[in-house]
């Protein structure tokens, strides 16, 4: 059975060419490679060498994707840097510069107001951090956590001083880190199952004619699972590309949001049990209708709920509540997990961004979950926000405008029957 995201991808038009073109055709190539792997799985009754070859090809394509994304990041960084290094050091401008600027001559230094705020007790060049005194390198301010590049002005100061500016590179470094993590993540998510396919194919070839049919069937099942995992990863990347390109336009139809939420909870029931979470749910007595594509909104809700499970503590709590006030329908998902670091804020919804506090967890996600969730909710006419306290947990709120039509209400009311294993309200 195809995943929600897979079926959505297959039913939407191909993206138009945009600023992220570079990613899209490459991803389509990977997708083709994976189709080849899946086809080979089905045909494995024959010689397995073609399967091994398909897996090998896909591994190479993954490497090309990673190289391509690194290149895009490097170009973007280079352009920005070039535009910021031209600093004019006339007297008035020196003090007016919004960035910290330091003029030095021999042992004496002069700081503009922004630099004075950063270094309140500097009286001479000996008091400045090494890179600034040396006019080159990077300076990390421990107090604020910000990273500055020390950029020497192209002109000397009015009194023949050497002028350096501190250009805040915190955002670029965070983006760079996120991109590196994404490349590692995609590599991990695609290479691991591909490696499994390759190794199993190798074993199957060596065991040809020796193994029992049960063993052989087991190998085929594992191969199919591996190919399915790869397909899911590629589908998520493609959907992210379509959402970014603005070519993904889900069709809204009236549906009871509770139906979508209950269905999602059933799909993640196994993960909830594995984490031994105490689940509480609360749904309105009557249907709360919204007009959305139930499949894709279900995928967004699944991303949110999956995060609440994955980053929860074992034996923690998960609360899922749907409410309506006649104007809008609201879903609240609350967990008792790791929480979102305060400095991340809304960045948590950006692609490839994850909290530093997740590094010690068992999750090595693809960095797309909350990006997909927000993009899907917003393209479906809804809103998403969250509140969180690091170490205590998070609540995510998703709202959609209430749908007040009447023609299909009866039809959808019939879908709200209870009976879910997680339905405790």
């Amino acid at each position: 059975m195809p995943s929600k995201i897979e079926s959505v991808r297959k039913n939407t038009p191909k993206p138009k060419r945009t600023g992220i073109d570079k990613e899209i055709p490459l991803l389509l190539v990977v997708s083709s490679g994976l189709v080849a792997v899946e086809a080979a799985v089905i045909l494995l009754a024959g010689p397995p060498y073609s399967l091994e070859g398909a897996a090998d090809t896909a591994v190479r394509v993954v490497a090309v994707i990673a190289a391509s994304l690194v290149g895009v990041g490097a170009i973007a960084y280079g352009v920005k840097k070039e535009s910021e290094t031209s600093v004019v050091a006339t007297e008035g401008l020196f003090d007016a510069l919004p960035m910290p600027a330091i003029a030095s001559s021999g042992k004496a230094v002069r700081l503009n107001p922004a630099a004075a705020r950063l270094f309140p007790s500097v009286s001479g060049i000996k008091d400045l951090p090494g890179p600034i005194a040396a006019h080159v390198g990077f300076y990390h301010d421990q107090k604020t956590g910000r990273h500055y590049e020390v950029v020497r002005s192209v002109e000397d100061g009015p009194a023949g001083e050497t002028v350096v500016c501190l250009v805040d590179r915190t955002a670029e470094l965070r983006l760079e880190k996120a991109k590196n993590e994404f490349i590692a993540s995609v590599g991990h998510h695609l290479r691991t199952p591909l490696t499994g396919v390759r190794w199993l194919a190798e074993m199957a070839a060596q065991e040809s004619g020796k193994g029992s049919s049960v063993v052989r069937k087991g190998r085929l099942v594992e191969l199919e699972k591996a190919a399915t995992r790869m397909t899911a990863t590629v589908d998520r990347l493609l959907l992210a590309a379509q959402l970014e390109a603005g070519t993904f336009k889900p069709a809204g139809r009236p549906v009871d949001l509770c139906v979508i939420v209950r269905s999602t909870l059933n799909e993640v029931a196994e993960a909830i049990l594995a984490r031994r979470l105490a689940v509480s749910t609360s749904f309105p007595e009557s249907a709360v209708m919204v007009s959305v594509d139930s499949e894709i909104v279900g995928a967004a809700i699944e991303e949110i709920v999956t995060n609440a499970i994955k980053f929860n503590r074992p034996g923690g709590s998960l609360k899922v509540q749907v409410t309506a006030d006649g104007v809008e329908v609201r879903l609240q998902v609350t967990d008792s997990g790791l929480g979102v670091p305060a400095d991340l804020g809304e960045d948590i919804f950006r692609k490839f961004v994850r909290g530093d506090n997740l590094e010690a967890t068992d999750s090595y996600g693809d960095g797309l979950g909350l990006y997909l969730a927000r993009s899907i909710v917003e393209v479906s006419g809804g809103k998403i926000r969250f509140v969180s306290k690091e170490g205590e947990g998070s609540s995510f709120f998703v709202t959609f405008p209430s749908w007040h039509g009447s023609s299909t209400r009866q039809t959808y009311l019939s879908e709200t029957g209870r009976g879910s294993v997680l339905d405790h309200d």
Binding site: A184, G187, H188, R191, T192, T195, W199, E202, M203, E222
Partner: protein
């Protein structure tokens, strides 16, 4: 085969699929196989099972492979021969792994199963695994 059956290989790999493939293959080659699915379990099995060789993944839950190597180093004593088997293949990862004491660093997707087993055999033949 009789000699190899005395050699205990610990497979530290969080991916169940790959872990099982490695277990089946190494057992078929006559090794005694131990397995762990995260970094903390790896350290526990090293202490309890006394493996002769460790096949170590890097991206693992709870503690990654680099952390495991650091913990092994901190405990001192004779260094357990470690072959890193990871899909992290950046030069800095490889340098870091080798600097932390691994005898070899294999990028999974670049090596066949036979090549991985051959590396383990070579390690044993060189006396690093016993």
């Amino acid at each position: 085969m009789a000699i190899k059956s005395q050699i205990k290989v610990l497979i530290a790999e969080d991916d169940k699929f790959l872990r099982n493939v490695l277990k089946v293959k190494l057992a078929a080659e006559g090794f005694r196989v131990l397995a762990a699915e995260d970094g903390e379990e790896t350290l526990a099995v090293i202490a309890s099972g006394k493996p002769d060789i460790l096949l170590l993944d890097i991206i693992m839950p709870k503690k990654n492979g680099f952390d495991v190597l650091e913990d092994i180093q901190l405990k001192g004593g004779k260094m357990l021969p470690v072959i890193i088997l990871s899909n992290l293949g950046q030069e800095e990862d490889i340098k870091r792994g080798l600097a932390l004491g691994a005898v070899d660093y294999l990028v999974k997707s670049d090596h066949s199963l036979k090549e991985v087993v051959d590396k383990v055999k070579t390690c044993v033949a060189q006396g690093r695994g016993k």
